[in-house]
Amino acid sequence: MKDQVGGNQKRARFQALCKSLRPDLLRFAFWLSRDRALAEDVVQETMLRAWKAQDSLLDEAAAKPWFLTIIRREYARSFERKRFVTVDVDELIAREEPMLAASEDQDLVELRAALFKLPDEYREPLVLQVLMGFTTAEIARELDLSDAAVLTRLFRARKQLRALCGVDTSLDSQE
């Protein structure tokens, strides 16, 4: 009886954790895949795997990076399954247009389209930093890169993004 109560409490806590993190996880998966349907699949699979592996989450404060690692693996698996070879960015933008354009602010619409055009290796650390609040060291750990490599990618990401958005980049630093 005691075990059952403990199990229910644990389950409820894990459910609450999943619920609170889900919006951000879905956004992360969306920016990773640039495909909302795929992002939903990936997050659903992630939740299933997380549920089964919840005992390995020793510290709830570390839940977000723990989930993100699972998402990245799931995304990689889906990528292998579907054997995508090339990505037509314009087609992706057209497919996700209702969401990308879901803002009265034209600047945001353009910025989202520009984010779609960023190479994966620049977009991912940028999303981890800006959306997920990761530090450089945390991004480096997640992506298995050095801190210097992460900073270089973040620099290039912003530089390309600003250029794509028509920002005057003449004052930006050069590499």
């Binding site: 699979e45 299933l48 945001l108 800006v130 609040g133 912003r158 930006d172």
Partner: protein, 244 residues
Amino acid sequence: MMDCAAYRRAMMADPRDPDAGLREHRESCRDCSLFTEGLLRFETRLERALRVDLPVHADTVAQVVPLRAAAALRARHGPPHRKSWFAMAASVLLAVVVAGGLWLSAAGPSLAADVVTHMEGEPQAWRRTDEPVQSALLQDALRDAHLRLAPAAGIVSYAQSCRFRGHHVPHLVIQTESGPVTVMVLVHEHVRKMVRFDEQGYRGVIVPVARHGSLAVLTRGPETDQQTIDHIAARVQGSLDWTG
């Protein structure tokens, strides 16, 4: 002393880096200070652009929790690939299970719950720092609410105009003696009396503001007691100057 090229390169890698060397350079170089203002404005837009609204479908809630049911379905029918009639049926089934009250027996989402959920979207805001946000960013965040904030409120280290329940609202982080405190000015949300909450690691209060909706003030973690939060909320409320 850092040169301008190194400063700009570092800022473009991490515009919110609190490094003292960067701050020192910024304060001594007008060009780089202007560059930073532009960069931070771009950063604010970038944060908003990344925070896409992903509509919540009925099955979205189901995906979060009744994992046993989902796993059982999956085991019987294979991986949940989209765009098949079965995936839709499974989603509906899961939604029904949830609607049946399997685990969501609590009341619907309250204002406090929505405020707490919003916090999850901006973890980078909770940084302990003594560096104030650029004043242009603070003004931008307050403009929609027709509001000014007196210096007595404390150092504002983060300011953003956030989409919340269909409106843009100021979302500020103020550095206090108890650490960073988040303030949301909810002009469109009216409460009849003070609402205290302690949810998902956030403790706070929502207080009514005469003719201007309400004010949410919250801290993260268990360190700050409710009485201190009430005191901070009163101080912030006293620092609000409505311009419209």
